[in-house]
Amino acid sequence: MKYALLVYESEEAFNRRDEQAVAAGRAYGEALQAAGVLIGGAGLGSPDTATTLSVRDGRRQIHDGPYAETKEYLAGLGLIDVPDLDAALEWAARHPAAGYAKVEIRPLLGCLFPGGSGKSS
């Protein structure tokens, strides 16, 4: 069963990110990898850097900023492959941001398209 772990952080938590937080994120990714459950994942840049697009009547509409102006933003995501929801919750609980942010766990639908174009890991 494949799941997405979606990390939502407040703007303050976003701005507080330091080297330690980045290192913790990396260590977590390595742990997922070592357990053989990681499909892929990354932290995201701040919502200030987001651009949102939609296509209506064949025209692209582009605006500055994230999809929704909320108090909490998607800050990172991971895709994992584990037996069931309890196993996914177990991994989500170990996420370094789980102690101050929120982790949403969602099952992936259908098949996953493997990439392979990543230049670095």
């Binding site: 069931d84 929801l85 309890d86 099952p107």
Partner: protein, 411 residues
């Protein structure tokens, strides 16, 4: 075989083993809705075939055989779920073995209970889901008991069952590390069915009636399935002690009678004895918990039947324990009343005043307790307004009449 006999056989199985059949199929396929659909197809097939062919030797195995065939067909039709067919073939193999040997099929109801009360399930859906899947209550009856429309309840149940399947909530008994975190969800869902039923006993016409009995049978099932969990016995003891007082809680004219004023001769001795037995075997585990404490408090009240008095000091001690491990608003209010009985109304009222105002706004028992203590303190006007507030917060007509009468008390 005559039709009525075959129908009676189908009905007996539907009543007696429905939960076990659903639990068995659902736990193998990870799909409650699919298991229920397949099982109702199997029951329909039985109603068609048994009158002509006779009731099979092992009717449950026959039903499981038909149901798993339906599930395999359904899995083949659905392209989304690639893994399920393998699981179902495994299920088919097992079902064949159950039919061939004379083994009973395994009881998976405990796994089903843990799924129903999984923290990833909407809390409002946990109790209805248990009642439907484990006891086989129909959605219309559950809807009536929870005061929502059958359509809304149906939708809620469909939604959670889809989540169980799509999010792959596992059918498993939690390990020791998660045990303490997960067991209370199961206990709370059962207790919530009981209180929903209990609060409406006065209304003879109410659809809530009967829900209390269903909750008790869930409680019995749980004690059977978790023989070494003292809190399961504590919960059952608590429900039995309350249930024992059913006949004493209202006069023949339907008037509400508070616990202290009830005639103990009307309390059910067999239920009280059963409650005490469960409480004693729970105590042997030496693992105190919320439900054992609440049952122990009811047990002290029950002793009035033998001694004619209530040991408030003992009740206070139990409430002190309760507020330490489960400082719910009910426990805090109960402690204040016990304190008033043991150490005088001023001490009790002071304890009541310590409860944060924000938590008691809509809590009827708090306002009734407040009215009672203010009355004992001779603060009549304030007592009257507290009883009035309590009366406006209950939806039980008999209790409302009682509380309104107390607003007029002169003592």
């Amino acid at each position: 075989m005559s039709e009525p006999l075959a129908y009676a056989a189908v009905e007996a199985i539907a009543r007696g083993t429905y939960g076990r059949l659903v639990a068995y199929l659902a736990s193998r396929a990870g799909d409650v809705a699919g298991a229920e659909d397949a099982l109702s197809d199997a029951f329909a097939a039985a109603l068609e075939r048994w009158p002509a062919d006779g009731v099979p030797d092992k009717p449950e195995a026959w039903l499981l055989h038909v149901a798993r065939n339906r599930m395999i067909d359904a899995a083949r039709r659905s392209q989304v779920r690639q893994n399920s067919e393998r699981l179902l073939l495994h299920l088919a193999e097992e079902a064949r073995k159950v039919a061939a040997t004379h083994e009973q099929f395994p009881d998976e109801r405990l796994k089903l209970l843990f799924v129903c009360a999984h923290p990833a399930i909407d809390p409002a859906a946990r109790t209805p889901l248990m009642l439907q899947t484990v006891l086989g209550l129909d959605a219309a009856r559950i809807a009536a008991a929870f005061l929502v429309s059958p359509a809304a309840m149906g939708q809620r149940l469909v939604r959670v069952k889809a989540k169980i399947r799509e999010a792959a909530i596992p059918f498993r008994v939690p390990g020791p590390r998660e045990w303490d975190e997960r067991v209370p969800f199961v206990l709370d869902a059962i207790y919530s069915a009981y209180t929903t039923g209990w609060e409406h006993l006065a209304e003879a016409w109410s659809a809530h009636r009967g829900l209390a009995e269903e909750a008790i049978s869930l409680g019995r099932t749980l004690v059977q399935l978790l023989p070494s969990e003292p809190e399961a016995r504590g919960l059952l003891a608590l429900m039995l002690h309350c249930e024992a007082r059913r006949a004493a809680r209202h006069t023949s004219r339907g008037e509400f009678v508070p616990l202290d004023a009830q005639d103990p001769a009307l309390w059910s001795r067999p239920m009280m004895a059963e409650a005490e037995a469960h409480l004693r075997s729970a105590a042997a585990f030496q693992r105190m918990g919320r439900y054992q404490l609440e049952a122990a408090i009811q047990s002290i009240h029950a002793q009035r039947a033998a001694t004619g008095r209530i040991d408030w000091r003992e009740i206070l001690l139990l409430y002190e324990g309760l507020v330490r491990i489960a400082p719910g608003i009910g426990a805090l209010a109960g402690r204040a009343v016990a304190l008033a009985q043991a150490d005088g109304p001023a001490a009790g009222f002071a304890a009541l005043e310590e409860i944060p105002a924000g938590r008691v706004v809509n809590y009827q028992p708090y306002w009734a307790a407040r009215g009672h203590l203010l009355q004992l303190l001779g603060r009549k006007d304030e007592a009257r307004s507290a009883f009035g507030r309590a009366a406006s917060l209950t939806d039980d007509p008999a209790l409302r009449v009682y509380l309104l009468q107390r607003t007029a008390d002169r003592h």
